[in-house]
């Protein structure tokens, strides 16, 4: 019996997987092709860079949201937490006048700390993620206003701060493609998150929690600790988004942020991650975030009236996801 089973053991369908992944881009590619045909201004280096730049903040937020959503949770606080982190950076750099790296570190730590709090409320107090992060969303929104005195904090005293997102290290080497640093940071965060999800124990538990939390607990795993870890990591990533947006605006805008969680979650779901947990990819999320930016940019380039932009965006989001579903079904 032992022997007969042996030949059946393969290591998995790798090739079809890669093909599958390639096809996932099809919705995005279709949009890009359509807009390129419709307007000569779309397929210009400048515009592509603008689209990427527009994706950077939402992309980073969406990556954070992906981690949480794979555990079967949700994080409604990513938008206002981003702002909170930006405000913390503002306090450190502008109010206290400390050097730039400390401001960045402070923002990331603030995000991590907030993630720890959300994670703890969820894991230890068993408050559903929706409520815990809704509460955090409001708390952080209020605190950002309180700390900043409801006024933007400018980074004028921190020279180079706005180069974090807007400068282009790539452009110094390849002047033809001045990809902004913000975009490179998005890619770096994506690589990091994909690495953690795919290669580390934290990533494995992330999927396992979303798949069957009770089974994980009964396997003797310290479920609470890992869950809190995921929220903390997501928080830290949101901190990066906070730095990015602050750099881009050269200021911490305390009122901004609410509503951004919806775009982030939309990117995640468009990217094929299931809200019920257990499955999802960072690549999918990036594609989802790009689809949202390409749509917004393309419709603007075509000078579509704003109210119709909204209608068309709604339709295309549904269609893009439907196309993806059809693709999975036929493969």
């Amino acid at each position: 019996m032992t022997d007969t089973a042996a030949p059946a053991v393969k290591t998995g369908p790798r090739i079809s997987g890669a093909f599958h992944r390639l096809l996932a881009f099809s919705g995005l590619i279709a949009l890009v092709v359509a807009f390129s045909l419709a307007s000569p201004n779309f397929m210009q280096t400048q515009n592509i860079l603008a689209i990427l730049q527009a994706t950077s903040v939402n992309g980073v937020l969406a990556i954070a949201a992906t981690l949480v959503i794979i555990t079967g949770g949700i994080d409604l606080s990513v938008g206002t937490l981003m702002t909170f982190c930006a405000v913390i950076a503002g306090v450190i750099l502008t109010y206290w006048g400390l050097p730039m790296p400390l401001g960045i570190l402070g923002a990331i730590l603030a995000g991590t700390a907030s993630g720890l709090v959300s994670g703890t409320v969820i894991a230890k107090l068993k408050v559903p993620p929706f409520i815990a992060t809704l509460g955090m969303m409001l708390i952080l929104k209020g605190l950002s206003l309180v700390i900043s005195g409801t006024r933007p904090i400018y980074f004028n005293d921190t020279p180079g701060f706005n180069q974090i997102a807007l400068g282009s290290v790539v452009g110094q080497v390849f002047p033809a493609v001045p990809v902004p640093n913000g975009v490179m940071i998005l890619f770096a965060v994506a690589l990091l998150a994909a690495f953690v999800l795919g290669k580390t124990a934290l990533g494995r538990y992330t999927f396992a929690l979303g798949s069957n939390e009770e089974a994980v607990r009964l396997s003797g795993v310290n479920v609470d600790r890992w869950k809190i870890g995921v929220y903390a990591m997501a928080g830290g990533i949101v901190g990066v988004a906070g730095v990015l947006i602050a750099s881009r605006l050269n200021s911490a805008q305390p009122a901004l942020g609410q509503g951004y969680e919806l775009d982030a979650i939309a990117a995640v779901v468009i990217g094929g991650t299931s809200l019920s947990g257990g499955r999802g990819t960072i690549l999918g999320t990036l594609i989802g975030a790009l689809i949202i930016s390409v749509l917004a940019n393309g419709l603007r380039i075509l000078s579509v009236a704003q109210e119709w932009q909204t209608v068309v965006t709604g339709c295309i989001i549904i269609l893009a996801v439907y196309a993806d579903i059809l693709r999975r079904r036929t493969l």
Binding site: M1, A8, T11, L218, S219
Partner: protein, 513 residues
């Protein structure tokens, strides 16, 4: 070998011929064949993953077939939905319970056919009708209880009640007794005999060989998705059926009982209590010993196991491991103390259904595969997973197949592999062979014996007495939350049953240890 058996006078109810079905990477059925006569109980047998459930899902409209024909009463039919199967008089009890956990038992039974008055649901009648079905099954169950509060066995009974309520001409039972104890099985067989007398054709899938002899008229055997043969149950020896299933003859291994009386105690449980479910349970297991747990449904064996493991709260009681008292507040503490627990409910508590086979096997052992920076050693995990896939003969196209796509028995093997890999000193296995075929069962028995021989302490909770008797050095028996006695390995079934029904709380039994 494949002795064809001709049927009697009436034409067949169902004839399935040359049925093909493939899933990505898996050929589940290849020219499979099956025939069912009115008034017969036709057992469908085969190893885990042989294609039994798949074939029956095709008949009941869950899957569509890739090729072949299905005749119902001699007429070709295309069954494209469960609804259509129902309308054609085909009912099925699925292997994986398909209940709505938030609804009551009665609501589950009549889903889609609720009695209404003036468009308003008639809950009174719904509950009365359900109660009547339960009564006809001799089942004591409140139809207004939510299904999620019921034990697996009761849930299984609800599934059976639901299937009966359709009054189908063809009734498919896919491992209906996997979660049932002897008394309930006897009740189910009485029902089957009644249905038989009414001319209902019953497809009966089970891995419990003794049941086949007791209830089946004919047996169709499948292997690797193919038809092997059909035999008459009464005049075919079990050994023949088994060899048709596995393609060779199995030698009957005997259990060598090593003397463990002198070995040090590995696990000691003292005065475990929780309400009426666990009442002052104390026992110990020595290194190298297999302690069987017997009892009727609801005796509290699972609760004891879960309480020891820290999965549920306990009111009082101490757990000692290797002579040291350990504080166990959660499963992670238990595992840290060297205790593993295999749950009786693999779907809810065992398997991470979305993960692949490799990761399910590694789930309890990830720290072992975690290198610097938290990076996982995939190659190491794969090596172990593949090894267990071989040892336990888990039928899967690869170790990266999603666990949910495996057949029920193979899923169970995956969960067993998880605990074997974790290598705990003390293993508590709750219904470990639920849904597992005969061949694999004996592999698992061998494994458990081997583990005991290595010095591990093992607790096996099982509702199958032969299993308990075959494996155990000693047998603990529970009734209504109390440990009513601990018997030596060779105890008789009668003795066990006496303790399992010993309802007097006055009786205090000394146990060896």
């Amino acid at each position: 070998m494949s002795a064809e058996v001709g049927s009697g006078a009436p034409g067949p109810l169902v004839e399935m011929t040359d049925i093909d079905k493939s899933f990505p990477g898996v050929r589940a059925l290849a020219k499979a064949r099956f025939e069912l006569l009115p008034g017969e109980v036709h057992a469908l047998m085969g190893e885990n993953g042989a294609g039994k459930s798949t074939l029956m899902k095709i008949l009941s409209g869950v899957y569509s077939r890739d090729g072949g024909t299905v005749l119902l009463n001699g007429q070709p039919v295309e069954i494209t939905s469960p609804r259509q199967a129902q309308d054609l008089g085909i009912g099925i009890i699925h292997q994986e319970l398909a209940l709505m956990r938030d609804l009551t038992a009665a609501q589950n039974i009549f889903i889609g056919r609720e009695p209404r008055r003036f468009g308003i649901l008639d809950e009174g009648r719904l509950n009365r009708d359900a109660a009547a079905i339960f009564a006809s099954m001799n089942l004591r169950l409140d139809p207004t209880f939510k299904v999620e509060t019921l034990t697996i066995a009761k849930q299984q009974m609800v599934e059976i009640a639901k299937a009966l309520s359709y009054r189908s001409r063809v009734l498919i039972m896919d491992e209906p007794t996997a979660a049932l104890n002897d008394a309930e099985i006897a009740e189910l067989f009485a029902i089957i005999n009644r249905l038989k007398a009414e001319g209902v054709g019953i497809v009966y899938i089970s891995h419990k060989m003794d049941e086949i002899k007791r209830i089946a008229d004919r047996v169709t055997i499948m292997r690797d998705g193919e038809y092997v043969g059909t035999v008459r149950a009464a005049d075919t020896p079990i050994e023949t059926i088994i060899s048709m299933m596995v393609g060779r003859t199995l030698s009957a291994e005997t259990l060598a009982i090593p003397n463990t009386a002198a070995a040090p105690v590995a696990l000691e449980v003292k005065n475990l209590n929780r309400g009426r479910e666990i009442r002052d349970v104390s026992f110990s297991v020595r290194r190298g010993e297999i302690l069987g747990f017997a009892g009727l449904m609801g005796a509290g064996r699972t609760e004891v196991a879960r309480a020891i493991f820290g999965a549920d709260r306990r009111e009082s009681g101490e757990v000692w491991v290797h002579g040291k008292r350990v504080g166990i507040a959660s499963p992670k503490d238990a595992v840290a103390a060297g205790i593993g627990y295999l749950s009786e409910d693999r779907k809810h508590f065992g398997l991470a259904i979305g993960l692949d086979v490799r990761n399910n096997i590694a789930l309890a052992s990830l720290p072992r595969f975690t290198g610097p920076g938290g990076v996982l050693d995939e190659a190491g995990m794969q090596k172990e997973a593949v090894a267990y896939i071989r040892t336990l003969a888990i039928k899967t196209p690869s170790d990266t197949q999603e666990a949910r796509l495996l057949s029920g028995g193979n899923q169970q093997k995956v969960v067993i592999a998880k605990w074997l890999l974790r290598d705990c000193d003390i293993l508590i296995f709750d219904e470990p062979t639920r849904g597992i075929d005969v061949g694999a069962k004996s592999e698992i028995y061998k494994l458990l014996n081997g583990l005991a021989a290595e010095g591990k302490a093992i607790i096996v909770i099982s509702s199958e007495l032969p299993e308990v008797l075959r494996l155990s050095h000693r047998i603990a028996v529970m009734c209504e939350g109390r440990l009513t006695g601990i018997l030596p390995g060779g105890a008789s079934q009668e003795e066990i049953m006496r303790l399992a029904t010993l309802r007097e709380p006055a009786m205090q039994v000394r146990h060896a240890g």
